[in-house]
């Protein structure tokens, strides 16, 4: 199945929150870490603790979410982590510029004599990067499992998006399962004609060409569906005037609390970084001492 996540109604604090609160809170954390460029684990770790607490409060069943986690962990640890260790890029320039003891070399392109030095500072940066990414990811992971797919459109509308943009959100959720089903049927239909995905051989172009029996029918189905959906929406007067969104959203005290918390985190990060110069990248002595 292409669509593995499932929204379920759970009686939790998180699900009682207004969807806008949850999206705004997520963005406050992302902006708090990225706009003032916070790389100081002393600041990141407490925020990480808040994210983790909220994650557990969402009470998502492990079996539902394990695939999502596998993807995130592979991405964060291998791609982001290894990239951090090897290149040290993707963060403040001080990672690669500051003097730092070299631990060992990785022969990336040995025959060119290009040896990549692994420094203590790169290692610390990679660790920072992983925790920083996870702080944002574990806030985002529960959203598809815990937010009613029917409410995204209304939530975006109430956050100021246009009718078109907001309803596009609803349409995406409506047609994602249809698209997944069409894809499954096409795979079945072609397999029944002896097509085997395992036998995709040859170069990249050849492989893509061999995928056309799957891609073309799905694209065609989507195009036809798209046209009929446009007709159906036209016939029901979509976009002719200002539209009423029947679902209403109201903030409760818990929402104000969370919005306040998000704003406080964002403002604190900005003030600490720009006002006091705290929060930039540095390698603590204890970490260097571990190796030297």
């Amino acid at each position: 199945m292409l669509v593995t996540w499932k929204y379920r109604l759970r009686d939790t604090f998180i699900q009682r929150l207004d969807p806008r609160t949850r999206l705004i809170f997520l963005f406050s954390i992302i902006f708090a870490l990225t706009i003032p460029e916070i790389w100081d684990l002393r600041i990141i770790l407490p925020i990480f603790a808040i994210s983790l607490t909220l994650y557990f409060m969402a009470r998502i069943e492990w079996k539902d979410v394990k695939r999502g986690w596998a993807f995130i962990l592979v991405f964060v640890i291998f791609i982001v982590g290894i990239n951090g260790v090897l290149s040290g890029r993707g963060g403040p320039s001080s990672v690669t510029n500051i003097e730092s003891p070299i631990l060992f070399y990785v022969p990336v392109l040995d025959w060119f004599g290009w040896m990549v030095p692994i420094t203590v500072s790169k290692l610390w940066f990679a660790l920072n990067q992983i925790i920083r990414m996870l702080t944002m990811a574990i806030l985002a992971i529960p959203i598809p499992y815990t937010m009613d797919p029917n409410i995204y459109g209304t939530a975006f509308k109430r956050m100021g998006a246009s009718d078109n943009v907001s309803f596009t959100m609803d349409l995406a959720f409506r047609f994602l399962p249809t698209f997944a089903r069409d894809f499954t049927i096409t795979v079945d239909a072609q397999r029944a004609r002896g097509y085997e995905m395992e036998s995709l051989k040859g170069g990249l172009v050849e492989r893509i060409r061999r995928l056309s029996p799957l891609i073309i029918p799905v694209v065609m189905q989507s195009t036809v569906t798209g046209e009929e959906v446009i007709d159906a929406m036209d016939l029901r007067a979509f976009g002719t005037s200002k539209r009423t969104w029947i679902k209403t959203l109201t903030y409760a005290p818990r929402d104000y609390f969370m919005l306040g918390l998000g704003a406080a985190i964002f403002i604190s990060c900005c003030v600490l970084k720009w006002g006091f110069g705290i929060g930039g990248f540095f390698v603590p002595d204890f970490f260097t001492n571990l190796f030297v």
Binding site: P149, N150, D170, L171, F173, R174, P177, T178, D182, I185, T186, D188, A189, Q190, R191, A192, R193, G194, Y195, E196, S212, P213, I215, I216, P217, M220, Q221, V224, T225, E228, V229, I230, D231, A232, M233, D234, L235, R236, A237, F238, G239, T240, S241, K242, R243, T244, W245, I246, K247, T248
Partner: protein, 546 residues
């Protein structure tokens, strides 16, 4: 003028992309509360006429329009779409594609929301409409998981929530099983009785006339061939073009003094080793889900031409997916030519079983019909000479030789369907499996198609029996089982509830009704005449016995 909610005056339309007129000089008017049935074979212009009435022409489809379509005295072309949508409500052919919201409440509220009505008004309209159609229980359901019949009711509710006075229903029965189709028809009738003007575009005339439309508009080549009361119908219309009730066909054959043709009885074959065996098969997708198949036992023998009947969602498709190895049993086993499907790849099984899926758009991808037909045999590793030979033969079989170099995606639906059958024919599988072979085709086309496949010749052999050891098709259409099958499987309650010759399985009408299989006039007439005929026959052949 405005005595008639709808007036069509000398209407002609030509699509920009096509040379010929799609609709030519059509005129008629409808009274309030009238139920008009529009019928005709595919390409006759009925969908174009529908688009002219609901304003998609000239808004979304470009071309040359002449004449007038007046809704309550005003020309459609001059009305705002918001206005028009409150006069004409349109139900499109595939409810799956016209439902735009993820849950039922939002779906029904969609139109009124777009009109910018106040929230209380929208909520009360949604409530009223759900009550009217008895679908209050669906209120919080997700639209994707509804059954076909439920989807259609929800789509209808979404349309009624805009309070239109004219309802335009474009082939609304196409995706429904017969029992759901008749429930839908009853709803359409009652809406007309409440004063709505109803236009029902449908080629399943036999089904549609069960709710006694006031008039029929029959189209051919874009023109009106007949417009008038239903009772004159048999004399005006060719019974090979639209599906009429069996007694009418018999009457007509007799009146025309056509000699009824009785095809020779298909040759009987000795029952040898079964080709496919299901042994105590249970299946479910996951432990969390309920069983879809339970205790299924079945043997397919050479010479079988099996029709699988049963309601939607009973597990018919799951059953055949086991035969082709796309699904493997949770318990029990499926043997294909004596080998357990668990030990075989789908490609290996494809040499024995060729599966034609319901919708051609799920299969077709190649730039030409020739390449489309090459795909299966190439996958199975056929020699080039055999591939060429298979393509030529299979194209001839489905009568599409002249389309070999055409792009399949540009063909008509019926031609695409035949292409998919040819694609499986070219694989030279021993067993042909078809899911709803007639879906999306009109009566004349599918009769021609089924006749080509199943029609018996002098020696009692047919194209199918000459090319395949056995054939199995899933269908809603009990008449296909009556006319073409030599064995009927009735599927219900997750397993096979009846299995045998059509004359045996289909004789108990109460039993059929229990499994939502609706007896037709052809079945009834065949049952009445069975003592004389000794076997089931098509309506035309029955003329010799009635």
């Amino acid at each position: 003028m405005s005595d008639f909610p709808l007036v069509v005056e000398n209407l002609s339309f030509k699509y920009r992309t096509r040379p010929e007129l799609a609709v030519e000089n059509v005129s008629f008017e409808l009274r309030q509360g009238e139920l008009l049935l529009i019928a005709g074979s595919s390409g006759c212009g009925k969908t174009t006429l529908a688009r002219c009435i609901n304003g998609l022409i000239p808004r979304s489809y470009r071309g040359e329009r002449k004449g007038k379509v007046l809704l309550q005295g005003r020309d459609v072309a001059e009305m705002e779409i918001a206005e028009m949508s409150q006069v004409v409500g349109t139900l499109l052919q595939d409810p799956e594609r016209q439902i735009v919201a993820s849950n039922v409440f939002n779906e029904i509220a969609f139109g009124p929301e777009n009109l910018g009505l106040p929230r209380e008004e929208i909520a009360s309209r949604v409530e009223q409409v759900m009550k009217r159609l008895n679908i209050e229980y669906l209120h919080e359901r997700e639209t994707f998981n509804l059954s076909g019949g439920e989807k259609q009711k929800v789509a209808l509710a979404g349309m009624l929530a805009m309070s239109p006075s004219i309802l335009l229903l474009d082939e609304p029965l196409a995706s429904l099983d017969p029992a759901s189709a008749h429930e839908a028809l009853a709803v359409f009738r009652s809406l007309a009785d409440e004063g709505k003007t109803v236009i029902l575009v449908e080629h399943r005339v036999e089904d549609a006339i069960s709710i006694t439309p006031d008039r029929l508009l029959y189209m051919e080549d874009g023109r009106i061939k007949y417009l008038g009361p239903i009772k004159n119908l048999p004399n005006e219309i060719d019974y090979t073009q639209v599906k009429l009730p069996a007694p009418w066909v018999v009457q007509r054959v007799k009146a025309l003094d056509n000699a009824p043709v009785v095809s020779p009885r298909p040759e009987e074959r000795e029952r040898s080793e079964p080709l496919v065996v299901f042994e105590d098969v249970d299946f479910r997708y996951d432990e969390e889900y309920p069983f879809i198949l339970q205790n299924v036992n079945l043997k397919i023998y050479p010479g079988d031409l099996i029709a699988v009947l049963g309601p939607n969602g009973a597990g018919k498709s799951t059953l055949v997916k086991h035969a082709i190895g796309l699904l493997k049993p949770t318990k029990g086993r499926v043997l294909v030519e004596g080998r357990d499907t668990r030990t075989m790849s789908v490609a290996q099984i494809a040499r024995v079983l060729g599966y034609v899926f319901q919708s051609p758009t799920h299969m077709l991808y190649a730039p030409t019909v020739h390449e489309e037909l090459e795909f299966g045999p190439k996958n199975l590793g056929f020699e080039p000479e055999l591939i060429s030979k298979s393509i030529v033969e299979s194209l001839a079989t489905v009568n599409m030789k002249e389309f070999e170099e055409y792009p399949p995606l540009a063909l008509s639906f019926g031609q695409q369907k035949r292409t998919t059958i040819a694609a499986v024919l070219a694989m030279r599988s021993k067993i042909l499996v078809m899911d709803e072979p007639t879906a999306g085709q009109d009566f004349a086309n599918y009769t021609r198609f089924m006749e080509a496949l199943c029609g018996t010749y002098d020696g009692g052999s047919s194209l199918l029996s000459a090319n395949f050891d056995a054939t199995l098709f899933i269908t809603h259409d009990i008449d296909l089982a009556v006319t073409y099958a030599n064995r009927v499987l009735l599927f219900g309650d997750k397993h096979v509830v009846a299995d045998g010759a059509p004359e045996d399985v289909l004789k108990d009408v109460d039993f059929l009704t229990k499994y939502r299989v609706r007896p037709t006039s052809l079945l009834q007439l065949n049952l009445d005449l069975l003592p004389k005929t000794g076997r089931f026959l098509p309506a035309e052949s029955l003329a010799g016995f009635a």
